[in-house]
């Protein structure tokens, strides 16, 4: 049927088969769950009587959250009724349309950083253990490959080994890593990075920050300070602030996103560990509630395991697996 197919075409780019493969690999588990479970309910492509129950279960188990799941199911049942949909295949397509519409909000969706400024500054934030440093290495690698010059600033001066970890990535990628002393003021490292990036005419400065739980008020204030200090050296910087989220995160993800967004305006999310069995459905709730779009997803520990996020691919992987 494809009620909103035109929207999808309009708002999402065609992806190479390579990306589809990676998504398929990453979402293999999800794919199995949905196709097996839903299709086994019906052998003649009619919509089975327990379709919505099963659907609710699958969406809840993807961490989409009970409020949004209820929304989606209500909308879907309306669409199915209004369009007199009878076949399971069409119902599944309608499901994707409903979810796509909810996510896209009829906006143009972008993944890549725009290099309108030089240097462009990207601040990377998130709670502990989501994979900020690894994500930074992957992003640096991505833009190096696009011919940009990249510099890193190690403003995680708190966690033991964090500076060493970023330095090691810097060595592997042959780029400069600006550091301060352990336990020194992270804002001063960020400032130093901004200053050097400007002097050296670097295209992209990526600032790593310490993981912090959103409940730690002092640490959240520190983020605002880092942001402020950078803008003193480079006006309007940071131009992008990415929130890194672990795909295994449950409903707390929305609370995380909200708190970080209040401390330092978030321009996009990166969902890491999408190569595991978690489906990362919280990204839909975050977009729904806070308008924050996902920009990239992490699909492994390799330096190339970072892909642009494509909602269409994601939903297909999650819901149908074609």
């Amino acid at each position: 049927m494809g009620l909103f197919s035109f929207l999808k075409n309009k708002f999402s780019k065609k992806e190479s088969s390579n990306t589809i493969l990676t998504y398929d690999k990453g979402l293999k588990k999800a794919k199995k769950a949905f196709t097996d479970e839903i299709n086994s309910l019906s052998n003649d492509d009619s919509i089975p009587s327990n379709y919505f129950d099963k659907l609710e279960e699958i969406l809840l188990e993807a961490d989409i959250g009970v409020t949004l799941v209820t929304d989606i199911i209500n909308n879907l049942s309306k669409v199915i009724k209004e369009n007199k949909i009878r076949s399971l295949k069409d119902a599944n397509e309608a499901l994707i349309d409903v979810m796509f519409k909810d996510y896209s909000k009829e906006e143009q969706l972008l993944s890549d950083i725009k290099f309108d400024n030089k240097p462009t500054v990207l601040l990377v934030v998130g709670v502990n253990g989501v994979g900020k440093t690894t994500t930074i290495a992957k992003l640096a690698n991505r833009y190096l490959k696009q011919g940009k010059s990249v510099m890193l600033a190690a403003a995680d001066t708190f966690r033991a080994g964090a500076i060493e970890q970023l330095k090691e990535w810097g060595n592997r990628l042959h780029i400069d890593v600006i550091t301060g002393e352990a336990n020194s003021d992270p804002a001063s490292v960020a400032y130093k990075g901004a200053k050097l990036a400007r002097e050296k005419n670097i295209d992209l400065l990526i600032v790593d920050t310490a993981g912090r739980l959103q409940t730690k008020v002092n640490l959240m204030n520190e983020l605002a300070k880092i942001s402020r200090v950078i803008s003193k050296e480079i006006p309007n910087a940071p131009h992008e602030t990415f929130l890194v989220l672990d795909a295994t995160t449950g409903q707390n993800g929305v609370i995380q996103a909200k708190a970080f967004n209040e401390a330092t305006k978030i321009s996009g999310a990166v969902i890491t560990k999408m190569d595991g069995t978690s489906k990362g459905g919280i990204l839909l709730a975050i977009r729904h509630d806070l308008n924050i779009p996902v920009r990239f997803i992490g699909l492994g520990e390799g330096i190339d395991d970072l892909k642009e996020f494509d909602i269409n691919q994601y939903l297909h992987g999650l819901c149908i697996g074609e």
Partner: protein, 449 residues
């Protein structure tokens, strides 16, 4: 978010159901739906929510509703207690072998806090239990993981062990050998984070297990983790046979429903809770707090407590009787204190003892402060010591003093009080046996002086 509205909903349900005296499918139904939502919002696995709510419902049907509360409050209390019961267990304590070092292996997904927790555990072992500990760096994959563990080992004064990027199985083996040969008390293996579906890396853990046969294999679980945490735990447990879990990042505001899912489906106990970024921030796991947190509703919980008080009044009569008839260990003393603490005052339990003189506020306050100290001290004792306090010799007392942050003088006070209480219960027993009612003449309840 969804939450404020949930709380409002609870309130309206509460109002509706006043005055029914038994739980029925019908009068529980709406509340159970709300509880289901609350559990889902806490990231309890969907299937677990279904099973758990159904089993609670089955148990609850026909139960009498206590005076002054309504069926919804009653069922909330029952759910709360069931969560607490499920999460709490006797197997949550680590058993330390007496004649050789304990081998502890930490495992889990990436980013759950293994390395930090390894440091916290080492600090706990060294400072609270006086156990000389090795921290072994078996994560050879993540950049700078070895550096991180080395820095942490330095901070907690533990011995750091690393063979660089040697095979983790070899590292574990040699770390264990060092611990045995050089008479350490404990060795903690920090392994690399891995996905449970990564066959190669899971095999590596299995090989470490085969090589060093750890006494404890503990899975790190992030408090914020979602629905899939159960698949992770199941797989790690199937492959390795977990002895426990550690919930990390409980200092955030995530509700930690994973703990309930994991316990329900794997029966693996939760042994510790990570409650902060400092290396001292490792706590024993408290099932009651976790139950509050998973249900997640401040005012509901206080309502639950109200229900609890209602019940305690009945329970307390029984308890007072039991206390005066049975054998009496330090565990019993602690259990008594906890009950009293829950009530918020001593007078509650005291007035259940016939013939007990009334006490002044000042006396009460002093007694309650004393009880707090007692609890800390008793909590620092081993199970054996609590069952049989006569083994408490000087070296044990020094260890307990260190663990609880008290002096040996305080510990002697606990023991003295315990002996007094034991003596009193014995006297009471005899007195009652010989047909006496109330308290024997000259009876002085310990803690009331």
């Amino acid at each position: 978010m969804a939450f404020e509205s949930l709380t409002d909903k609870f309130k309206s349900i509460f109002k509706k159901l006043k005055g029914e005296s038994y739980l029925t499918e019908k009068n529980m139904d709406e509340m159970l739906k709300s509880i289901r939502l609350a559990l889902l919002d806490a990231d309890v696995n969907y299937k677990v929510v279904k099973e758990f709510v159904n089993s609670v419902k089955e148990k609850a049907v026909g139960q009498e509703v206590f005076k002054k509360v309504n069926p919804s409050q009653m069922i909330t209390k029952i759910v709360h207690d069931e969560i607490e019961k499920l999460l709490g267990s006797d197997d949550s304590e680590i058993k330390y072998p007496t004649s050789r070092p304990i081998v502890i292996m930490l495992c889990g997904l990436q980013g759950t806090g293994k390395t930090t927790t390894a440091g916290k555990l080492a600090k706990y072992l060294q400072e609270k239990l006086n156990k000389k500990t090795i921290l072994a760096a078996c994560d050879i994959y993540r950049p700078a993981a070895i550096d991180q563990l080395e820095q942490i080992a330095k901070q907690v004064n533990a011995t750091f062990f690393s063979l660089g990027k040697e095979n983790p199985v070899t590292i574990a083996k040699q770390a264990k050998e060092k611990a045995f040969n050089e008479h350490y008390d404990a060795v903690i293996l920090d392994t690399a984070g891995r996905l449970q579906i990564d066959e190669q890396l899971m095999e590596e853990l299995l090989n470490i297990k085969k090589e060093v046969t750890p006494d404890e294999i503990l899975l790190l679980v992030d408090a914020a983790s979602g629905q899939d945490s159960i698949n992770v735990a199941l797989e790690f447990n199937n492959k390795l046979g977990l002895t426990g879990c550690i919930m990390s990042k409980l200092d955030g505001d995530a509700r930690g429903g994973a703990s309930l899912s994991i316990r329900h489906l794997t029966n693996v106990p939760i042994k510790f809770a990570g409650v902060g970024e400092k290396l001292t921030d490792l706590d024993a796991f408290h099932p009651d707090r976790m139950a509050d947190r998973i249900l997640g509703m401040g005012d509901i919980v206080s309502l639950v407590e109200k229900v609890q008080d209602e019940i305690d009044e009945d329970e307390m009569k029984k308890e007072a009787d039991k206390m005066m008839t049975g054998e009496f260990t330090l565990d019993d003393m602690l259990a008594q204190m906890k009950k009293v603490k829950r009530l918020g005052s001593l007078s509650g339990i005291l007035k259940m003892i016939p013939g007990m003189p009334s006490i002044s506020d000042e006396q009460k306050e002093r007694a309650e402060q004393e009880m707090k100290n007692f609890e800390v001290i008793i909590n620092s004792m081993t199970k054996e010591e609590r069952q049989n306090p006569s083994i408490l010799k000087n070296s044990r007392k020094i260890r307990i003093a260190k663990g609880s942050g008290k002096t040996s003088y305080d510990i002697n006070k606990v023991i003295k009080k315990y002996e007094q209480m034991k003596e009193m219960t014995k006297k009471l027993k005899q007195y009652r046996k010989s047909g006496g009612k109330g308290l024997p003449p000259g009876f002085n309840f310990p803690g009331m002086k």
